[in-house]
């Protein structure tokens, strides 16, 4: 069978790195970075996940096929989140229509000049 046997030492190094990053991400939460706190936390999480996938889950010694599976799962997740977000974050672009109290019975409708997307 063709599975790769990884030296034990490497596992312990990765373990130490993961613990260190956990400490780092917890510590960073106590530093005021404004918006960047979230970004930093997510970047560190991505690094940790990458280490787990690369070494604990043997990505480094995997076939291309397995890598395609991982990448496409992430791609599909990205499709789900990004296209859902196109709705939620563009809903408020639709201008708040004005005209309350300006009712003009019988007048021809004004061209919707004010209604262009902002």
């Amino acid at each position: 069978m063709s599975a790769h046997v990884v030296p034990q030492k490497l596992y312990f190094i990765i373990f130490a790195a993961l613990l260190a990053m956990t400490a780092l991400t917890t510590g960073m939460a106590y530093v005021d970075l404004g918006k960047w706190n979230t970004v930093v936390a997510l970047v560190i999480a991505c690094c940790k996940a990458t280490l787990v996938v690369l070494f604990f889950m043997h990505w480094k010694w995997s076939t291309h096929l397995v890598r395609v599976v991982i990448v496409s799962a992430l791609l599909w997740l990205a499709i789900l989140i990004s296209l859902t977000c196109t709705d939620f974050f563009s809903r408020h672009w639709t201008p708040v229509p004005q005209g309350w109290g300006e009712t003009s019975l019988g007048n021809p409708p004004a061209p919707p000049a004010n209604a262009l997307p902002r």
Binding site: L33, A45, L80
Partner: protein
């Protein structure tokens, strides 16, 4: 091919390599479905977190970072022992395999116990469990309720995966004790390992998203 290897080969496969590749490929595809399964929750979380930032930050501040960080470490430790267990199976070391499986199970149980007694129970008593006992009435109360709904659902689904994992590991332990696994036959151990690491990765993302967003300063 030894007799042992022959019995390890299912009738539909030509050889052990093909069987091993199929098993690990199948497990990865299963993990892809798991990514999407959690993905639905993450998508919902992303949207509400952006719509209700202050409420989510307020909710996050009510969680205990120290316990969260300790639990993260516990889970990473269990991932290490799981990786070592797979290695022991690959190299045919029965005793090491049994030891590492026991360690993994213990660390997994420790995670669940910490979660259950120090966090969920605490949150419930504090009135932070939506639908059961939610009494929080400060600023952004409804966003906080939403946050805690996500918190319980996401950690709950994650914990359910841990419980299933511990169940499978216990089965593996019995089989390993009987000496069923070896260099020709470790697909089960490897697949369970992949699953266990995946559950670990989910937690690696849940920890910052639930405990750390909005900062602690």
């Amino acid at each position: 091919m030894s007799d042992h290897a022959a019995s390890a080969l299912a009738h539909q496969f030509e050889d052990l390599d093909q069987q091993h590749e199929a098993a690990s490929f199948g497990m990865w595809i299963f993990l892809a479905t798991e990514v999407m399964f959690f993905g639905g929750l993450f998508a919902g979380y992303t949207i509400y977190r952006n719509l209700y930032q202050p409420g989510f930050a307020a909710g996050s501040h009510m969680l205990n970072v120290t316990i969260g960080a300790i639990n993260t470490a516990v889970l990473i430790g269990s991932s290490l022992t799981m990786a070592l267990a797979v290695r022991a199976a690959q190299t045919g070391k029965r005793n090491a395999l049994v030891t590492f499986l026991i360690l993994t199970i213990l660390l997994g149980l420790a995670f669940i116990l910490i979660k259950l007694t120090l966090e969920w129970r605490h949150d419930y008593v504090e009135g932070l469990a939506p639908g059961l006992n939610f009494t929080f009435a400060g600023a952004h109360a409804k966003s906080v309720e939403l946050f805690f709904f996500f918190y319980f659902t996401m950690t709950g689904v994650h914990a359910a995966h841990m419980v299933v994992g511990v169940g499978i590991l216990s089965y593996l332990l019995v089989q390993a004790w009987r000496g069923k696994y070896g260099p020709d036959r470790f697909n089960m151990v490897e697949g369970t390992g992949l699953y266990w690491h995946f559950v670990d990765i989910v937690w690696i993302f849940l920890f910052p998203l639930l405990y750390l967003i909005g900062g602690r300063y």
